[in-house]
Each structure stands twice: as structure tokens, then as C-alpha cells.
Assembly symmetry: D3
Homo-oligomer: 243 residues x 6
Amino acid sequence: MDYQSLKGDEVKELLPGIDVAILPLGAVEFHGEHLPLGTDNYLAEGISAKVAEKINKTIILPPIFYGQVWSTFAYSGTLTLSNETLAAIIKDIGLSLKKDGITILAIINTHMGNLVAMKEASRVLYEEGITVLYLTYPGSKEAGQGVLESTRVHANYFHACEIETSYMLYLAPEHVNMDRASSNIPDFPLEFDYTPTPWIEVTDSPVLGDPTLATPEKGKIIIEAVVNDIVKIINSVRENHSH
Amino acid sequence: MDYQSLKGDEVKELLPGIDVAILPLGAVEFHGEHLPLGTDNYLAEGISAKVAEKINKTIILPPIFYGQVWSTFAYSGTLTLSNETLAAIIKDIGLSLKKDGITILAIINTHMGNLVAMKEASRVLYEEGITVLYLTYPGSKEAGQGVLESTRVHANYFHACEIETSYMLYLAPEHVNMDRASSNIPDFPLEFDYTPTPWIEVTDSPVLGDPTLATPEKGKIIIEAVVNDIVKIINSVRENHSH
Amino acid sequence: MDYQSLKGDEVKELLPGIDVAILPLGAVEFHGEHLPLGTDNYLAEGISAKVAEKINKTIILPPIFYGQVWSTFAYSGTLTLSNETLAAIIKDIGLSLKKDGITILAIINTHMGNLVAMKEASRVLYEEGITVLYLTYPGSKEAGQGVLESTRVHANYFHACEIETSYMLYLAPEHVNMDRASSNIPDFPLEFDYTPTPWIEVTDSPVLGDPTLATPEKGKIIIEAVVNDIVKIINSVRENHSH
Amino acid sequence: MDYQSLKGDEVKELLPGIDVAILPLGAVEFHGEHLPLGTDNYLAEGISAKVAEKINKTIILPPIFYGQVWSTFAYSGTLTLSNETLAAIIKDIGLSLKKDGITILAIINTHMGNLVAMKEASRVLYEEGITVLYLTYPGSKEAGQGVLESTRVHANYFHACEIETSYMLYLAPEHVNMDRASSNIPDFPLEFDYTPTPWIEVTDSPVLGDPTLATPEKGKIIIEAVVNDIVKIINSVRENHSH
Amino acid sequence: MDYQSLKGDEVKELLPGIDVAILPLGAVEFHGEHLPLGTDNYLAEGISAKVAEKINKTIILPPIFYGQVWSTFAYSGTLTLSNETLAAIIKDIGLSLKKDGITILAIINTHMGNLVAMKEASRVLYEEGITVLYLTYPGSKEAGQGVLESTRVHANYFHACEIETSYMLYLAPEHVNMDRASSNIPDFPLEFDYTPTPWIEVTDSPVLGDPTLATPEKGKIIIEAVVNDIVKIINSVRENHSH
Amino acid sequence: MDYQSLKGDEVKELLPGIDVAILPLGAVEFHGEHLPLGTDNYLAEGISAKVAEKINKTIILPPIFYGQVWSTFAYSGTLTLSNETLAAIIKDIGLSLKKDGITILAIINTHMGNLVAMKEASRVLYEEGITVLYLTYPGSKEAGQGVLESTRVHANYFHACEIETSYMLYLAPEHVNMDRASSNIPDFPLEFDYTPTPWIEVTDSPVLGDPTLATPEKGKIIIEAVVNDIVKIINSVRENHSH
């Protein structure tokens, strides 16, 4: 159910039965020549829709399209919120939902830069009795093994690569231009993981890996696993909270 | 042009020619039985699209769907950001755009509660050389005279009434259920305008006036006037800034 | 009763019977050649004294002489507080009064720039059970019709004009030099109301209109209406709160 | 010169010649049966006027009537600002004056609780090239020796006692009721100076000492010494800054 | 070189030649029956000393003994700073060092909870031209393979287990009581990694794994690898910054 | 008892019997040629150890080595926290201790610059039911009379002089180099105590007085008096709080 489209009667009838609100959260970020600025947002909305199909008593909140983007901010088109701003948005939404009795907020997030703000806000909301789930592709690592052909360029980051491009080919193919996909394997300095380093100091393109290997099939396998994991996690929380 | 859908090449080619970014801003707020929670968002997106058709060298940013809603917060389904949070979002977006040389941010706003945050953020961004336009139905008052049949229930507020419902019938009729529209004329206490007063202390329904008088034609007349005014204001700013 | 002048016995005897504290709030702002920097403060004190004469069980707090002044800050002599600072003052005063059982704070304000801070602080204090009234010339618009000769230069702003000069001629004539009054009709750009615009970008003098038309009689008519309205609003709040 | 009363011409002619702004700062605080709540404010205004008579090229700003009052907050009638609020006011005023070229701000303070906020704001303004003088009865200790008859009840605090009452008898006798003056010698616990202790935990009356010994002559001797010291300090700063 | 012990002459002679300041950062946290509350601090100091032996032109700053501890806060003896507080400390220290020309701050951290604050502060200091290295056992994962016998209980967390106890046996054996070591394998709920979960909701003891397998030899192998990695990273930064 | 060294069993057994936590607080600050940067820290730790010997049911927390240093910041090697940062640390520690039932926090402080932050944090913690003692050499003034030979250079400040050097010769003689001690008597401008003045504007060396007169015997007499006073104050608080 789309929260925004509910009219008065529906609000009053349905909200009391809802216990989980799904919040798609992405970012506006340069994603190379073949992917659009809104890549993370298209993915967050796509996964959220699939999750909502599989669980009942839930609504999908309007997405937050702006994320925290530090590492790739220098690339054209990237927009960013500060961690404080993003955490404040999540906190305000959580407190608003609590007023109507909804105390589980499941954030379907697709952008690594949002992790800190999600966690900070979640801890604040925890003190208010609100359970926030921060869900950034849970289960994708396991699901990707045996499916992905390229080795990861970096242990923690992926960006506009075989993985993410496959997700887009599955969830939003109309926004992908594979003709413009090309591999990029930056050479990271030893200190890269241990000091703030805008990627532009390391590589002209923020693509991390080889998107030409992407296929919708790969995307489907991993995203379906992710969706299943999210559903399991939400149901586990529901169960543990109802005791 | 939809900012989110731009891919790498387009970003690099187009952004240098853009001088105005349009930011739709609404809210999630209870709007009576006949209108949806996302009313303000549908209107902000609708007006933004019409404005973008009439001016060149512009892009439409992804909307901010969450607004500051104090007066009607107690009604079911309403969500709110604090003024500080909303102002921070606008400030962060403005500073991000500046990085790519876009220094006019035109906020197409449809929710009164956002005025303070818009103005606060605008003054901060002014110091950074960024011109923010806060555009909340400019010209609608004049355009509505002679068109609207009901007298306004309150000098400053309108909500889910003949005016706003007409806007929706013109811009997003699929989200209106006129069968459920009904008039509501609250009796405001003398101090209403001079002290913080949640509307629920005054009226069970936040509808302010008579939505049954709404028609798409009325909406069209006023919204077209608003769009024209916005276009004129943006062009005036462009001209004054280019000197 | 002047709060400051109360001695120990009086404090203990009188405070328990007080339910409304009046707080004069103005600003220090350039007001043209004929009016002093403290114009808003003289007016706030003048109106407060007249209101206090007409209601019982009230005290007048020491004035806040500093206001939030953004638009005319560039003119010589103008001083400003930030919105955050002014809101903090009001909040701190409200919480202090609550300690002694006074839960209605009536701010007699004479400066438009203070509106945001007053409203923000009022909402915070509302959550603490304190009723703040923000009273900026209530009823003056209606009272001015038929009295004032000049048309307003701007829909929302008035400054050092026929209106304000008339107020001063009535309440603080010793601070007016009519010999130096002269009309000023700035030409506002189309975007003036929609983007932060220091007035000095538009006009060398912040006088908005024609102060030469001012008379003490006009001032008296409007100010008396304002005082009556304020008294009515305070009494209405008292009554509604006592239920 | 009273800053508030300056009209446009005067502002433009006089401000360029001013280098020191005097800011009276007091508090609203319970001062026993014989002194009024505004005691500190009457004293700050009184001393400021005397200082202004003795130095040229200066103006007196409108007073800040509200101070930071922690220790005596529990007594009826006392009002308080937080340290943050008071520091923000001073900072905002300092920055405003800088705009018009006035970079020495001499705060004539009469309330101990304001020391922290004054110092904090002064350090911030120091970084902005503004010299703040925080002047809380400089030279009074020395001047009081040989004049005062009672020994001080506490090494650092005096309140509504022989000292302060003498000041009032000299500067604002119309606000003193000596018939109600009576001595109060609280018995401070050993930890009093080393842990936050609201005075009401120690004594029913915040009078610290014996006000019955107060005379206008004593007040005159000390206050004149204080005024002379302030004048010397201001002139020393002027000289050192002009090199 | 111990920063604290430097006297005036030494400060003036040595600081100009220093380019890296080492900051040990730990936490005070319950670490089971066999390890002390200061475990993380002993480790941070131990590693820092070994690093300092291997690089020149460096000083060791006094440690920060307090860290951010959320997950284990409920266990007795655990103390915590907020993320904001810890980030502020690091920021203030970084800015202080910059005054004396030291622009590389290498934080030797031993507590996972400090990661967010370190990163936040580092990004702020990056804007000030200061390079912060946040070094939390770099290289330990690789070095531990083939050495450690137990499988990790959790992918991201280790605590008072074979790993950390081995570190202590190598670096601070006088603070270990192996007689009290015992294994603890909690059963984590599915949502554990996706929502804030104080460990005490999951397990009575925060020990994660089997500390009885710990040996000083294992500790030595891993810590020496960590020290070598830290030295390499610092030298790499030095080299890249000197170009 | 050293808090850090407590292991699990000890924590559980001992903490319930503890009612006072001792927190050594110093600073890193240039102290002339003969004393080290960590002078204040060595002293805070030394006094804390002596106090802990004389009272039971107490633990010594790990020290805070960083203080607020404004006046001498410009001298090489000095590091500083802001007042806000230092107050936040104290507040966080106080709240953490409260969790384990320890509600008296005795700060053994040796640096004047920390006074404001200690007091601010103490008032916040007072509202939480936590008693903070801020103990900066209590009783030293009285004890110093008859012992010290030099007259104080400044009424409020002492630094690296006969007094402080004597303390060091008694508590940490291994960190003193008397061969490098030399007298320094700055000439303070009249406004020194009334406006923020970095000492470097007044004197090349921050030594205030004549350290060559220092002896361990003088240090012993004063420090023992200070320790006795601290013990008395703590016991007085304990007694008053147990009623």
C-alpha cells in the first residue's frame, strides 16, 4: 500500500492494523556513463515494492531521495545531505509514525553512505520504543557468490559495477545504457580505508569494477535473495516484539 | 528534465548549461475524506512539471515528500519534520548544487507549514551566493477572485477546501473522491491566530471550507496563473542576476 | 504593575494572583530620518502600558529591546539577534515564569522580523503547558481602513510610514521629528517577496511610504483599536484556559 | 548618548565617531524584602550613565534586563536565561556593532551569574576582532575596604547586603525600603563552593549579610571608584588598540 | 616520545620536526570475568608504544581512555561517551596540533564503537587540511588466519574472546586472569545486525567466543602484523603527502 | 582502586559498595622550560592517588588528560578542548556512573581553564541527581600563606611558578628540571582581567612568577592541606547526602 495515496477513510481504517512502515532510502549520486544519478533511488523503490508484496500489514512511505554522499561528492551531479540532516529526517519520521501506533520502521536502503545516519537515528528511536531496521542489501554477499564473475575491486565498496548494474538491469532496465558501460579498476593507495579519501583523488570515474559483465539474471538472483532476507528479518522482528 | 534520470554523459553535458533547479516540496498530511495524505506532494509535482515545460535551462530535482506539519499533526496519518530538519535539507541541497554551478534553487512548495524552514534556509544560502525562491502558489489569491464561490474560512489558511480540491481535480483527479467531500466550517476562537493551536482542539476535521464546490476548471484557471507567475518570477531573477 | 520594581513582600503576595505576564518586544532598527532607532521599542512599551491599564492580574516584564532584523540590517545603526537567539530568550523567560505559576505570556510585539522566533518559541512552550500570545498590532488592518490616506507600498511590510509614524506621534511624540519626514516609494522587483532581499538592494532609505501624512489622531484611533483587541484576546484565552 | 533615541541623521553623523558601545547588563532576581527584583538592572543602568558622562565617543545601548540566574532561581520572581542564550545575545550584538565599525563593547554588568556567558561570548567575538570588556564592579573590593562595616558572609558572593544595598541607596534610593531590611547570615555547608547548590537548600532568604548597615554614602564611595576604574580600563583599551 | 613529558626547550626543538602524532584511543567496557574494564585502553597504549618504536619524527599523545560504547553499556562498569562528544574531542585535538604544524593524526584505536566518531571527526578535519588515520587493528584479519583456532562468533564483532585475550596476554598479561576465562557462544536473533540491540538482550555475558584458546604467541603474531601494517600505512601517507 | 584494572568479578562485587568516583582532570599546556607539557596531569593524578588513600568506598577513574586552554594556547605544545567538549565528557561520564549507582563524582582538577566546563556539566548533572564536586586545589590559598616566599604575580592565576613548581617537586620531581627554572614577572595591561587576552600578547613566557623559589617541602605542606580539604569535602557531601 502506498501511504501517500490513502484518503481519510482509508487512513482511519487501515493504519490501526499496520505495524511496519517501509521507507525507501537512496541517494542522488554520479554512477558512471551507463547509470543515472537516481540509481540508488530506483533500486530502493524497486526492492521496497517487492518486499511489500510479500508481507501484509505494511505500508510504503514516500521515499527519501537524498542521501549522505561524501566519497563521490566531487563528481558532477552528486548531491548530499549531512549525516546530521539525514539522521534528523529518519528520527522525525519515526516519531511521527509512533503517534499513529506504528513502531517498526524498515528502511530499505541502497546507499552505503547512509549507514551512519541510519544507525544514529535508530539508536535515538530505540530509546523511544521504536524499532528501526536498517536494511542495506542483506544477504547479497552470500547470494552473489557463484553468480558474479568479477572479483570485487574493494572489500567494502561496490559502485556502478557488475553487481549494481545487474540490480538495475533487473529492477529498472529502462534507465541503463549498457553501450556506455566500461570497466574501471582504480589503484587504491594503502591508506585508502584508513583516512577520508574523496574517490576523485584516486580515479576519474567512480565506477568500481566491470559493469559490462552485468545481466538482469544476476540481478534477479541476488535481489530476490535480498528481498527474501528482508522479509525474514521483518517477520523475525515482528515475532520477537509480540512476545 | 528529470535530474534523477540523467546518466554520466548527460550530466557532464547538460549541467553546465543549467542555472535553475526546481525542487518540488510538499508534505504528508491528513486532507479529509476525499483527498489523500500525499495531496501536497501531488500538487507540488504537478505544478513543477508545468513550470519546467515553460522554461529552458532547468532541471527538476527529486521531490522532498516530507514537510513541517504542526497544526494538523494530531490527525491520523500526518507526518512531520521539524523546521530545523527541513531547513537543513534545503540548505544541504543548495550547497550541493552550488558545487556544480547551479545557484538558483526554485522551491515549488504547496504546504504553508514549510514557509519558515524555506525562509530560514534561504537566508543561510543567500550568504553563500545561492538564490532560493520560495514559491507557494504565487498569484493564486488574485487568480482566485471571481473564480471561487465560497468565502475563505480563514484569512491565511486553506486546507482540503474548494481551492485545494480544485487544484487536485485539475492536477491529480485520480486521487480525488468527490463522493466523500463535505463542507466543514470550524468556529475559531478569538486567540486562534495569536497562539499555537493544534486544529484538533477546534475541529474534528481539518477540512477548512467547502470542497464540494471544487471543479477542475477552477483548478485549471488558478494553477495556470500560478505557473505563469512562477515562470515570470524565475525569469526576473535570472535577468537581475545576469547583470 | 512593573515586574522589576516589586520587592520581596510584594513578590510573594502578588505573584500567586497573576496569570498573565506582558512582555514588550521591539527591535533596534534604522527608521529613516524622522524616527529613532528605538521606534519599535517605544511602541512596544507604549502599547504594553495601555494594555496593562485595562486588565487586572497582570504584570509587565522588562522589555526585550533587541529583535531579529534581517531585511534592514545593512542600514546604519540596526542591530539584530538571530532567530535562534530570540526564540531562546522567549523560551527561557516562559519557563522561568512557569516556576512561579504564571502560564500565559502575552508578547506585545511591534516588529515583523520577530514573528518567526516568537512562533517557534511558542510551540516549544506549548509543549510545556505555557500559552504564549504573539500580538503584533492585532486589529490594526481593520482599524486603519478609513483612517489612513496613503495606500500601502507593500502588502505585508510597513516601516517608518504613515502608519508607524502615526503610532509614534500618539505614543512617543518626543521622539519624532516631522521636519525630517519624507516619502519614499521603492520599486520592488517581481521576486522581492519570494527570495531573501536586503532592502538596501532596492532602496537607499528603508522608509516604505509617506510619513508626512502621519498624525497623532490616526495613531490614536488605530492603537486604541489594537489595545482593545489585545485585551479581548487575553481575556478570551483566560476564559478558555479556566475551563 | 542613548543609542535608541538616535534618529537617521544623527545615526549617520555620530556612529562613525563612536568607538565604544556601553551595554548595561543585569538580571531579574529576588533581592530580599527591601530591594526590588530589578535591583541589578537599576544598578547597571545607573553605573552606565555615570560612565557615559565621563568618556566621549561612546553610546549607551539599550540594556539587557535578563541575566543568567542559577543559584537563586528557586526564589519567587527570579527569572533566568541559560548561559547559552545570554552568550548568544552578546555575540549577536557584538557582530551587529561591528557592521557599523564599533569594535569595543563595554558590558557594565552587575550580576555574578552573567560572568560565564560574558566570557564565552567575548572569546568568540575576540576571534572576530571585537574587544569585549566584561566589567563587574571593577575596583569595588579595594574601595570597600575601610568603608564597609560588616565582614563578607562569603568570599565570592554578595547579595542584597550592606554592599549592594548601599549601591542602591546611592543610585536608585526610590526602590529601597530600608524598613524591611534585615540581616541574614546563612551557615554554608563545607561543600558549598565545590558543588552546584541552589541557595534555597541553605537559607530561606537569599540576603547574604546585613543590609541594615547600608548607607548612600558608602554606596557613593564605592560606585565612584568603580566608575573611575571602568573609565580607566576603557581608556587603556582605546590606547592599546590605537597603536 | 611521550608528548606529556616534554619540557619547554624540548617542545620548541622537537615539535617542528614532528609530522605524525599518535593518539591511543580505547574505552572503559566490561570484558568478562578474565579481562579488566580498561582492556581496550591497555591494548591501545601497548600497540601505540610498539608503533612509535618503529617510526621516527613522531610523538605519542596522552590517551583518550573513554570511548563510545552502546552495545555493552548495560553491563556493569561500562562507561560511554556519545558519538558527538568523542568526535568533538578528536576534532579539538586535531585543530590544536595543526597550530604547531602537525597535520597527520594517527589514531590507534582498539574499540569498534569508536569507528563512527573517528570517521566523522576525520572528515571535518580533512576540510582543515589535517589527515586523520583511524587505525583499528589493520591487517589483523589476514594475520589471524592460520593462527586462531576458534571460528568467529560474529562476522563483525569480537569481544573478550580468543583474539582479544591473546592480544592482552601479549601486551598486558598482568591484567589477565585466565582462570576465570570461559567460552560464551550467544545465539543472535536474525535481526541482530539490522537493528540496535543491546547485547544484554541476547546474552548475560558480553564475551563473544572462547577466550580459553588464547595464548600470548597468537597475540604476538597478530599484533606484530598489525603494528607493521600501521607503520606501512603511516609511511604511505607521509610519502603521498610530501609530493 | 584503579577503575580500569577491575575485572568482571571485581566489578560486580565492588561497584555496589562504591559511592564516590574520583576523576583526575588536567590539561596539556606549555609550562615553561623547567616543567613538562603534562604538568597539570601529573599533579591531578598525584593528588587523586593521595585522596584515594584516605577515603574508602571510592574508585579512581581513568584521567581526562585534555583540558580547556585558551589563554596559553598560542604557546608551542599546548592543546585544548572547547568548553563544550569538556563539559560533554564530564556529563557523559556522570550519566554512565549513574547507571551503576555511583552518584558522587569528585573531579580532582589542576587547571583553571577547566572551571567553566566543570561547573556547566555539574549543573546539568545536578538535574539528574548526580553530585559533582569540582575541586581545584581547595584550601591551597590558606595553606600557602606563611609558606610561599614570592608574592603572587596575579590575583587569580598562577602558572609554572613557585607554587606549581613546588607541587611538582613534591608529586613528580622526575619531571622537573630546576636548572632551567627562571623568574618571569609580566607587566599586565590594566584591561587584562576584563577582556580576553592571550598571554602571548603580554609575555613571551607563560611562567607567572619565580619558580626558582620552589621546594618539595613547600609543595608537600600545601598539597597535604589540599588533600585533607578534599577528603573533608567529600565526607561532608557523603554525610549530607545520606540524610
